[in-house]
Symmetry: C2
Subunit: 389 residues, 2 copies
């Protein structure tokens, strides 16, 4: 987007002027579709270390979309941990395949904010300039342009979302929201246990807090992140966390008594888990009868090991949640309703940096810049990287 348009867009977003915003977007979309497009994708031809196998490749402009489809231009696409796992070949999903200069390649990226630049025949409910995301997993969002089936595409609300929030709404906040709502009908004043301290966990804290649901949060052991632990605790607390502890507290015998006091003896019936192993087991001891343990990750790389007695005598139920499955099993209307609800919650933008490759014309140099950023990303507690191609 031209700098002036970009400024106008920011202003319109801040002022929540939908008509101005739509006009600016439309203008930007036309400009970008009429400009000589530099189409690019981040691709790989074999699985491996992303800093070695990922490359930036230019490709020819897309043909007009076929009936029932949309051509979209991606504005901002996050690099999520699961995207990295797909490049490594250790995640149970297949990337999009494309042909560039006669060679078949995989395109990375599952999530990202796009805007509609061309609407195919027979498509209802989309206009040029609409902000959209893909409801189908592994859409190859690390591309400047793609053709998406309208039925697989989710329109975002016309106002209320920043570019960064829109680009990161589909996976983490959606996962947090669905886990808080699909297993149990939580009421104001109910309590939830969780061990997520990254983006899903942060969204859980915020969404719960907006509804008056209280969270007890366990974060990594103190020695892992040394001095950063106090910042982490402060940051989760500022998002609305009611209590934040390190795993060391799980060995503290007064914890159970404190939890009973805070909850006034009401059983805790939901626990959200992305860790596994002994600390997760220790957390389940604070669950009451008829509780649901919902797992969405396994950062400890250890299995979920639980005493059978908890299932039999406390009626614990263990489930998993995978947002990709949720999208697959829900209608376009359901998906758009979810986006409306998430937008209305006005979640805080995740800590991020934007990796802008659009000012680097040379594919080789752009690849170097990308790989350098990926190398940085491997360090723990880095910010989320959002790609602008």
């Amino acid at each position: 987007m031209a700098p002036l348009l970009s400024l106008l867009h920011q202003a319109a977003t801040r002022l929540a002027r939908p008509h101005t915003l739509r006009a600016v977007r439309l203008c930007a979309a036309r400009l970008s579709s009429s400009a000589p497009a530099l189409n690019r994708a981040v691709v790989f031809s074999e699985n491996g270390n992303p800093t070695q196998v990922l490359s930036v490749k230019s490709y020819e402009p897309l043909p007009p979309p076929p009936p029932g489809a949309l051509n979209v231009r991606f504005r901002l696409s996050p690099i999520n941990p699961s995207d990295i796992n797909i490049v490594q070949g250790v995640y149970p999903a297949k990337p999009t395949r494309v042909t560039i200069s006669g060679k078949e390649l995989s395109v990375g990226g599952n999530e990202g904010l796009a805007e509609v630049v061309e609407v195919g025949d027979g498509v209802q409910g989309f206009e040029v300039g609409d902000w959209v995301i893909s409801g189908k997993q592994q859409a190859g969002t690390w591309s400047t342009t793609r053709t998406l089936r309208a039925d697989d595409t989710i329109k975002l609300p016309a106002q209320g979302l920043s570019e960064v929030n829109a680009a990161t709404i589909a996976v983490n906040p959606a996962t947090a929201f669905c886990m808080l709502h699909e297993f149990l009908d939580l009421k104001e004043g109910d309590w939830v246990l969780q061990n997520g301290d990254r983006l899903v966990g942060q969204a859980v804290i915020q969404i719960a807090a907006r509804k008056g649901i209280k969270t007890i949060n366990f974060v990594r052991t103190r020695h892992v992140i040394a001095n950063d632990i106090d910042n982490l605790i402060a940051s989760l607390t500022s998002l609305g966390a009611n209590h934040v502890f390190t795993y060391e507290s799980l060995e503290d015998r007064t914890l159970g008594k404190n939890i009973k006091q805070w909850t006034a003896g009401n059983p805790i019936r939901l626990m959200l888990n992305c860790v596994g192993g002994p600390t997760t087991l220790a957390m389940t001891r604070y669950l009451g009868e008829n509780a649901h343990l919902v797992s969405y990750g396994a950062m400890s790389k250890q299995p979920l090991a639980l005493p059978t007695s908890a299932f039999i005598f406390k009626n614990l139920q263990a489930h998993g949640h995978w947002q990709s499955r949720w999208y697959k099993e829900h209608s376009r209307q359901d998906r758009e309703d979810l986006m409306d609800v998430l937008t209305a919650l006005q979640l805080k933008e995740p800590e991020h940096e934007i990796l802008d490759l659009s000012d680097e014309d040379n594919d080789g140099l752009a690849t170097q810049k990308l790989r350098h950023a990926l190398d940085r990303m491997e360090r723990p507690y880095g910010r989320k990287i959002l790609l602008r191609l």
Copy 2:
């Protein structure tokens, strides 16, 4: 029951003549309630080894039942593993307490066939001579007589059940039936995995076979039960098991291929588990997407350790089943419907021996006889012992 009545009762049961049966039962009930009653219970005053802490104690005849209650006389009461665990103090349920000769004692027994001998005011739907079981756990069924609340009592069908089947219907067959029906709507031709080879497992095999549901059964490793393994496999197969393997087969790489062939590639979506540990984990690999793992025991004494990925990506759900909870959460009508359905299935009587203490007048000698039988029961693969007091 007098010998002649007993013979008549057996004949009426076999010929399925409900009116004759009811008349015989009524006659027997009157005889036994008018005879000088030898009331006895198997009691304990502290937790410990059952062969050391259980005693037979005589007590005074019951007063007439209060309004809304029934006096019942137990005919046959099984000694189940969980009863032993309660005596040991390692099971999460409390036994019934009674006062005998001024001393407060616990009475054992959760399951047993009783007949109604006296009906309290205001009780609907019960008559003297009805066969009943307790719908409330830990009713103290190791007694000749007890007073039960009518609302906690389940009437058995007037025909179709032998004494042994009636005395053992409430826990094992009920558990098997509920696990096969509460989590999934299985259709004829569907497959179930299970690792129970004792009474619940045997009931699962029979109930599944009656409905055309197929079972793949895993039983203990060959070295544990040496030469008996072939008998075990033959006996489960004769009950209707489609395939029976020892745990060694879980390491056989052809098993997966065979299962795919048998199931024609249809995903297996129910697994019933009473073992836990590595063999249970190995079995879950043969489950398809959206499967339910239902645990009702932990004979390996190892936790249920499963990869989190199975929950997230295959949408595995893990539950427990406790028949006591089922009874607690269901109405008297539901409970009686369950008994009707189970009766109609005409399950095979479990292998058993009846420990008849009624011919031993002396409490001390009856206690010796009981402890001797309990000692025998500790050996693996013993028959179920049914108490007749």
